[in-house]
C-alpha cells in the first residue's frame, strides 16, 4: 500500500508541477470564480434580499462551477500528445493512478476555493469569526466527494463528443446531495448554530465521500482500460 501511495503522490506531483509551470488553467479558474461571485451580487435585488441570506448558496454554486472548470481540464491535458496512453503503459495500479489524479484535482479545486473564500467575505460582507475552521472542514468534506466523481467522469468525458458539455450534464446530479448538505451546514455555521443541528448533514457528507471515493477508485480501470 505505501508503494501505491508513493505512486499516487508522484502522479499528483507531476500534475501540480505542470500546473505551476504554466499557471494558465489556475489563473483562469480563479478569475472565473471571482467573476461568478461578482455576477451573483447583481443577480439579487439588494432591497429585497440581504447578502447574508444568499451567501451560503452563492458560495457553493461558485465552488461547484469553479470545480467544473477545473475538472474539465484534468484529462484534457492528458489527451495532448497521447499522454494518457503513456501514463496507462506505466506499471501503476489503476487505483493509484486514480488517487493521484484525484489528489491533483483536489489541490487545484482547493486552491480555487481558498482564494474564493476571502473574496466571498469581502463582497458579501460576511463575518466569518470563529466559523472559519468549521467552514474549511465542511468545504473539504463536500469537495472530496464531488471531485472524486468528477475525476472519474472527466476521464470518461474526454473520450466523448461534446466533452465540455458531457461533464456538467453527468456530474451535476451527483453534486446535488453534497451541495445541499454543504449549503445547510454553511448557513448554520454562519448563523452560529450548535453542532448538533449540523450533525446529520455532516454524516451524510462523510458517507457520500466514503461511498463514492471507493466506488470511483474501483470503477476507474473500467473507464481507462480498453
Amino acid at each position: 500500500m505505501p508503494d501505491s501511495l508513493r505512486l499516487a503522490l508522484a502522479i499528483a506531483g507531476k500534475d501540480i508541477r505542470a500546473e505551476l509551470r504554466s499557471r494558465t488553467a489556475l489563473q483562469s479558474a480563479l478569475v472565473f470564480a471571482a467573476l461568478v461571485l461578482v455576477v451573483f451580487n447583481f443577480a439579487r435585488d439588494p432591497t429585497a434580499l440581504s447578502a447574508a441570506d444568499l451567501a451560503p448558496s452563492v458560495l457553493w454554486v461558485t465552488f461547484a462551477l469553479a470545480a467544473m472548470v477545473a475538472l474539465n481540464r484534468a484529462f484534457t491535458v492528458e489527451r495532448e500528445n497521447a499522454a494518457l496512453d503513456g501514463l496507462l503503459l506505466a506499471p501503476v495500479p489503476r487505483e493509484a493512478l486514480f488517487i493521484g489524479k484525484l489528489l491533483a484535482n483536489l489541490a487545484f479545486v482547493g486552491t480555487v476555493e481558498l482564494v474564493t473564500l476571502p473574496l466571498f467575505v469581502l463582497f458579501f460582507n460576511v463575518s466569518l469569526g470563529h466559523a472559519l475552521p468549521g467552514l474549511l472542514g465542511v468545504t473539504a468534506l463536500a469537495t472530496v466527494g464531488f471531485v472524486a466523481v468528477g475525476t472519474l467522469f472527466s476521464a470518461m468525458a474526454v473520450r466523448t463528443r461534446f466533452a465540455e458539455l458531457m461533464l456538467p450534464v453527468l456530474l451535476l446530479p451527483f453534486m446535488v446531495p453534497p451541495l445541499i448538505a454543504a449549503v445547510q451546514v454553511t448557513s448554520r455555521l454562519l448563523a452560529d448554530r450548535p453542532l448538533s443541528e449540523m450533525w446529520g448533514w455532516l454524516r451524510l457528507l462523510a458517507l457520500y465521500d466514503i461511498v463514492f471515493v471507493t466506488l470511483c477508485m474501483m470503477t476507474f480501470s473500467a473507464v481507462v482500460d480498453e
Binding site: F153, M156, L170, V176, P177, A181
Partner: protein, 233 residues
Amino acid sequence: MTAEAAPAAGVVRRGLILSALALIGLAGVFVLALGLTPVEARQGLAQKIFYLHVPAAWSALLAFSLVGIASALYLWLKDARLDRFAAASAEVGVVFSAVMLTTGPIWAKPIWGTWWTWDARLTLTLFVFFLFIGYLALRAAVHDPAERARFSAVVGILGMLLVPFVHLSVYLFRTLHPQPIVLKPSAPSLPPEMLTTLLVSTLVFTVLYLGFVTTRYGLALADEAREQARDSS
C-alpha cells in the same frame, strides 16, 4: 456476437404483446380507480391520481435499480445482453419518471396549492431523472460499442448508489411530500379497497415496464443486426 434479424423480430413481437396486455390492464385500472374505489374524504377526486403516480414512480425506481444491477453485472461478466438491457431499462425508466414528474404537479396544485415545490424528494427525483437523461446522452456520444457499454455501466452503478442518498436526504430535509403509507415499518395505513387498487395498478405498471423493455431490447437487437449487415457489405 451474431445478432440476427429474425430473433429481434420475435423479441419485439413478444414485447408488443406484453405492452398491449398491460395497456388493457391500464384501462381496467382506470375503471377500478374511478368507479370501484371509494373517494378519499379530504382530498376528493384529486387523490385518484395516486393510483397512477405511485405505480409510475415504482416502475421508474424498478427501471433505474435494474439499470444499476445490470451495469454492475456487465462490468463483471462483460455480456452484451446486459448492456442492451440496461440501455432499454434506462430509456423506459426515463418515460416512467416523466409520468411521475407530470402526474405529481397535477395532484400537487389542488392539494398543496403549488405545482412544484423544492422539497427534498421532488428535487432529488428530478435529479435522478436528469442523471438518466445524462446516461442516455453519454450513450449517444460514445461511438465504440465496447467503450459505450463500459462507460454507461460505470454511470449506471454510480447512479444506483445515488438513489440511497436521495432517500437519506428525505429524512434530513424538512419535507412536504406525503410520507410512505404502504412500504413502511408499521402496517399499511391505507383502507383495503384503496390498497387493492394500488396493488393492481402497480402490477399493471410492472407488466407495462416489462413490455416496453422487451420491445426496446428487440429494437436494439434489430439495430445491431442492421449495423452488422451494413459493415459486412
